[in-house]
């Protein structure tokens, strides 16, 4: 137990180090943007009619702490980020944490939902197709999963929109019905969300499923070819029992291992799908922040949060792997 706690602690520390490196990358990017918050703020004031001088900019910089050295500013940004505090956006002039708030959790829930969808399809189908020798089934599955890889999600979203507009006369956009959009959370609002969320979950899950199917199939084919499976068959174990207890059980570890990267891929698709479906969550906020207003504070916060959720998932899968795979578990305890 003690060793296990130590293992967890080491993994957590490594995850933190990863986050620190990520924050350095993200923060440097934010800094590379021409013009800082003070200039932007005062430029805005300028458009409101008040004249500003260089001294004003300097004073504003000092007020915002922008005159401190890079590393100090990074450290304080990082310290804030770990507490979920990202300061104010200098374009929107609102607190970023408040702005993101529930949007972050909804986005994460949608992405995790599509991850769950992807694997609940990919695991059974992948296992069956790896075990089956039917060439028609295998080739068509291969084709479908390649199509999933090649067809960008935004195209799928466009197609679905097209069909729904032509045949149902309604556009399947947004995450909430108008009456709930700004309403406080309630059971009805939640149900309304569920009614709208299936579409983004489905679209995001589409290519995730294709990837997951590839992974599961490849891992399963590898395991099925191994000697221990033949040996188990030689002991008289057959059929589903053989499939699930032997190769499937052993392919599970690497599958768990790949969850973090799948989430990464889903996050890649999120902004664009969000744009098409005009969802009010983080992806489209990121787009707004970048394309329309060059809001580097908001963009940095979002990228950091997305990466942090991937790091968290990676950490959890490592722990899970240690629990389910005796090889990892024993190497920790020894």
């Amino acid at each position: 137990m003690l060793q296990f706690a130590r293992f967890t602690a080491i993994r957590a520390a490594l995850a933190l180090v990863t986050l620190v490196i990520v924050s350095l990358v993200v923060f440097s990017l934010m800094e590379l943007v021409p013009g800082d918050c003070a200039e932007r703020y005062l430029a805005y004031k300028n458009t409101q009619g008040s004249a500003i001088t260089l001294a004003d900019i300097e004073a504003e910089r000092a007020r915002l702490g922008l005159d401190r050295p890079f590393l100090t500013r990074w450290a304080s940004w990082l310290a804030g980020a770990f507490q979920g505090e990202f300061g104010d956006s200098c374009i929107l002039r609102v607190n970023i944490a408040q702005l993101l708030g529930s949007k972050f959790w909804i986005s994460l829930a949608i992405c995790l939902g599509s991850l769950v969808l992807a694997y609940s399809i990919a695991i059974p189908v992948g296992i069956i197709s790896a075990a089956s020798k039917n060439p028609l089934l295998n080739n068509s599955l291969r084709f479908v999963s390649y199509l999933g890889l090649a067809m960008p999600n935004f195209l799928l979203a466009l197609m679905i929109m097209l069909v729904s507009t032509v045949y149902f006369g309604e556009t399947l956009t947004g995450l909430f019905s108008p009456q709930y959009k700004d309403a406080p959370w309630s059971l009805d609002k939640f149900l309304d969300l569920l009614k709208h969320a299936w579409l983004p979950i489905f679209i995001l899950g589409w290519s995730a499923t294709a990837f997951a199917l590839q992974t599961v199939r490849a891992l399963m084919s590898d395991e099925i070819g191994k000697l221990y499976v033949t040996a188990a068959a030689a002991r008289g174990i057959y059929g589903r029992r053989l499939l699930w207890r032997y190769p499937a059980r052993h392919a599970l570890g690497p599958i768990v291992n790949s969850l973090g990267f799948d989430l990464n891929r889903i996050f890649n698709e999120l902004p664009i799908v969000a744009l098409i479906l005009t969802l009010t969550e983080m992806g489209s906020l990121l787009l707004d922040a970048l394309a329309r207003s060059n809001d580097q504070q908001l963009a940095g916060a979002i990228i950091f949060l997305l990466t942090a959720s991937i790091v968290a998932v990676n950490f959890l899968t490592e722990i899970l792997l240690a629990v389910i795979d005796p090889r990892v578990r024993k190497s920790i305890i020894r």
Partner: protein, 376 residues
Amino acid sequence: MTAVAKDQKAKEAYFTASQRQLIWARFKKQKAAMVAATVLAMLILSGLFAPFLAPYDPTIAGRDKDYLNGAPQIPQFCDKNGCSLRPFLHPVTRERSIQTNFRWVEKINDDERVYMQFFVRGDEYKLFGFIPGDVHLFGMEEGYVHLFGTDSAGKDIFSRTLFAIWTSLQVGTLGVVISFVLALIIGGVAGYYGGMVDSVIQMITDAVRTIPSIPLFMAIAAFIPPEWSAETRFFVITMILGLVGWPTLARRVRTHLLVERNQEYVLAAQLCGASAGHVIRKHLLPSFTSYIIVDLVISFPYMVLSETALSFIGLGLKDPVNSLGVMLQNVTKADVLLNYQWYFIPVVFFITLVMAFVFVGDGLRDAADPYAEARK
């Protein structure tokens, strides 16, 4: 030559075949990959010769101002007046007036024929960027032909599609080359030195790999000053794609190097007195170049997909550079979805291009793995 000698020769060819020849031999056996390779070759050729194959300039210069948002025209051989050996079109006039509620109404004049011509002189272009020319594969006696219709500015979608394929290929190639050079340096250093250097580089690579790449692209691309020209933008976007794409490749390079470096044949070469440079050039590089090529082909479609996504949301390439993402920028609007479905024709080509790359990459990967056959 006797049959035995021939047989012997074939056997010898097998045993002395280079890694590349073996991969090619195994690749040829896979039907799907071979079909994909043929399709891919055709697409690459049509992209290369886009200026010649496309009847019109894809930019605003080649617009047909009388046929905005026009439907595809398909040249025919026969009509009510009989058949002809040369394909022709009926001239179309479009009108918009108070009588038609100010909507465009097409009138097809099916008594007249406009014949198609081949190898016609038209808009000037530069083939491969430097060979000037103005001969196009086909065109009309008078007026225009739009196989895939036109867009809202009257630009020929067929011509734009061909040029978009060319752009996608350029973006993919450049992006892959840039990320490959980075990967080779970073992964090479990690793999060659090993130890502490390797651990630190691995940690950084893994951290960068965790950042979702499209949001990262977006963050970087959003800060390209809008006043930069489309060409500069093209190069910068491609650079960004390359810069963000290196970690995965770097990891592969490192793994290849680490594995190969500890092989006994390297030790054998060293014991024979080979210098480090000789070992790297003559033993290490040849042993994994074929695998690296496979990796490059596999990562190619992701570059193209990223570019499309980026351009689609307006952060990537911009007009007059053509790419699928640029062409699809406006199609989210409901009226486009409903009325101008031919905007989606390029999508078919695009999906074919990406699928062909994925299939070829997969086939190459299987062919490069000497144990793939045994596992079947």
